[in-house]
């Protein structure tokens, strides 16, 4: 039986320690809108870009008239929808920066959400939640970012 090399054993130990210390391999997607939009009751949300070594999430959203963006969060899978612990810090709507909400997002828009630096310290089982007000009615739209193994699961 072949024994593992010392280098392989050492690498396993280092990787294990790094994982336990909160260091994870980076995952990302970066594509064009239209690949996998998910629509519910007239609101279509598609996560288009995110990197777990950056602080932004880029989405394309289409919403009915009189829709306002109230908030957005990155959340762990066990967090109730729209109550995750990482709220957005700023929102760019079609190139216009908004440092506070709410903001009108009726129609189709490209949005970039900025998040705090500690958002991705752990990136397993992460969701992206958008809190909307559609014609006076609150809505929470959730999109998966990663699965339980920490791999990209956008659109699943």
């Amino acid at each position: 039986m072949r024994r593992p090399s010392y280098i392989a054993v050492a690498a396993a130990v280092v990787l294990s320690a790094a994982s336990g210390a909160g260091c994870h391999y980076q995952v990302a997607i970066d594509r064009k809108p239209g690949a996998a939009p998910r629509c519910t009751d007239g609101v279509c949300l598609e996560v288009v870009t995110f990197y777990t070594n950056r602080k932004t999430v880029g989405v394309w959203m289409h919403a009915p008239p009189s829709t306002r963006l109230i908030n957005a969060r990155v959340a762990a899978g066990d967090s109730p929808a729209c109550q995750g612990r990482f709220p957005t810090e700023w929102v760019d709507v079609d190139g216009d920066l908004h440092r506070q909400g709410p903001v009108d997002v009726s129609g189709g828009h490209g949005l970039v959400f900025g998040f705090p630096a500690n958002t991705w310290m752990s990136h397993a089982d992460r969701f992206f939640d958008v809190e909307l007000d559609v014609a006076g009615a609150p809505r929470c739209v959730r999109a998966r970012l990663t699965n339980a193994e920490g791999r990209v699961a956008v659109g699943s």
Binding site: G22, D30, R31, K32, P33, V48, T49, R54, K55, T56, G58, V59, W60, I70, N71, A72, R85, F86, P87, T88, E89, W90, V91, D92, D94, G95, L97, H98, R99, Q100, G101, P102, H109, G110, L111, V112, G114, P116, A117, N118, M121, S122, E131
Partner: protein
């Protein structure tokens, strides 16, 4: 040249006063009206952070924009946003809604003058990384809703003159009673008579780049660098310091100036060629401050190990080593971190500046062929 290499090594420590400084209020005043109870918790000066809307992409900052063809990145200035962060402790009820904060002179009309908050932050951070996560995080939504007792912070444009004048933080609170909504502006005194502050700094890294006239073991002038790690205990920084240095070059230059004063940069035939290393236990602090200028002091007990090569005229080089022990006293003129009206003159701070020091030493091992009392000048930062 050895001296310039050492200079480059320690240069970053002189930027010590460029980092964020947190002040804790000592005598807070309750806001007006008194319900819900609000008072200043503290502030962070030089609250430097990335510019909202921009993203660090490794070497460059870029402004991302989502378009129908995907994410586009536009060039952005390589810069930080320089702000002041005022923290207000609020003892709210089950639900307190905050729509805005304003930092203004106390003469300004309520909630209608001075600086509007760029961001509102709340202390509901999930600390999955105590190292990276701040104690408050931005809340983009309006109103910001808190429950019970929480700290709410407002991020404002840096305004040094206003930090040194009587000022207030106004908190705009929304009350709801059925369909009826009313707004109330609570004025919280931030700076002014009777309100004092103390720098929350505890741990501190520091450094020194110094010229020293001699050691107890050699009369040659030397150049050195030192790095220290310390903790503030009240107004005194207790630290340990490690130091290395020596004369320049590895052998005397016959065309160099005579005497021992220039051995640190261009040693002549009168110079020993020396290298040294050592450590010290140091206490230091701020004796007086005015705005960003300060007078500092330091007391240290140092031990130095030196290796010395001496070449007598016409002779062959002789090497020896020596260990010396002794006290060192220093006085410094410093450029300190930005402060705020009411901060104690002797409060901990971050600063950089020039120090003049004297040192006495006894050679406890080896030959003491230098000066028992000496001195020097240093560029210091902590």
């Amino acid at each position: 040249m050895r001296a310039w290499a050492l200079l480059a090594l320690l240069a970053p420590t002189t930027g010590a006063s460029c980092v964020e400084v947190r002040y804790q209020v000592r005598d807070p005043r309750i806001g007006d009206p008194a319900q819900p109870p609000m008072q200043i918790e503290g502030l962070s000066v030089r609250d430097l952070h990335g510019v909202p809307g921009e993203e660090d992409q490794g070497n460059d900052w870029a402004r991302p924009k989502m378009t129908a063809s995907g994410m586009e990145y536009r060039d952005a200035p390589d810069d930080f946003e320089r702000t002041v962060l005022w923290k207000v402790r609020i003892q709210g009820g089950a639900r307190t809604e905050i729509t805005g904060l304003t930092w203004s002179p106390e003469s300004a009309p309520r909630c209608a003058g001075g600086h509007q908050a760029l961001d509102i932050l709340v202390d509901d951070v999930e600390h999955n990384s105590a190292l990276l996560a701040p104690d408050v995080q931005v809340h983009w939504e309006r109103p910001v809703v808190i429950s019970g007792e929480q700290v709410v912070a407002g991020r404002f444009h840096e305004d040094p003159p206003l930090l040194h004048a009587p000022s207030v933080v106004d908190v705009l609170v929304v009350h709801r009673d059925g369909d009826r909504t009313t707004e109330e502006c609570v004025r919280v005194p931030a700076t002014g008579p009777g309100i004092t502050y103390w720098n929350k700094k505890r741990w501190s890294f520091g450094g020194r780049i110094f010229w020293r006239r001699s050691l107890p073991s050699t009369s040659s002038s030397l150049f050195g660098v030192a790095a220290s790690f310390g903790r503030w205990v009240g107004p005194v920084r207790i630290g340990i310091e490690g130091t290395v240095g020596g004369t320049s070059d590895s052998k005397p230059d016959s065309e160099a100036p005579s005497g021992t004063g220039w051995c640190f940069i261009d040693p002549g035939t009168d110079c020993d060629i020396a290298t040294f290393g050592g450590g010290s236990l140091e206490a230091s602090g701020i004796g007086w401050r005015w705005n960003r200028w300060a007078l500092g002091w330091s007391v240290a007990f140092e031990s130095i190990y030196a290796r010395i090569k001496h070449t007598p005229p016409g002779g062959t080089q002789v090497a020896r080593s020596a260990v010396s022990l002794g006290p060192r006293l220093g006085l410094s003129v410093l450029r300190a971190a930005p402060d705020v009206a009411g901060v104690s003159r002797i409060s901990p701070t971050s600063a950089w500046g020039f120090e003049v020091f004297v040192a006495a030493g006894t050679t406890v091992s080896g030959e003491g062929a230098g000066d028992p009392i000496t001195g020097g000048i240093a560029l210091i930062g902590f």
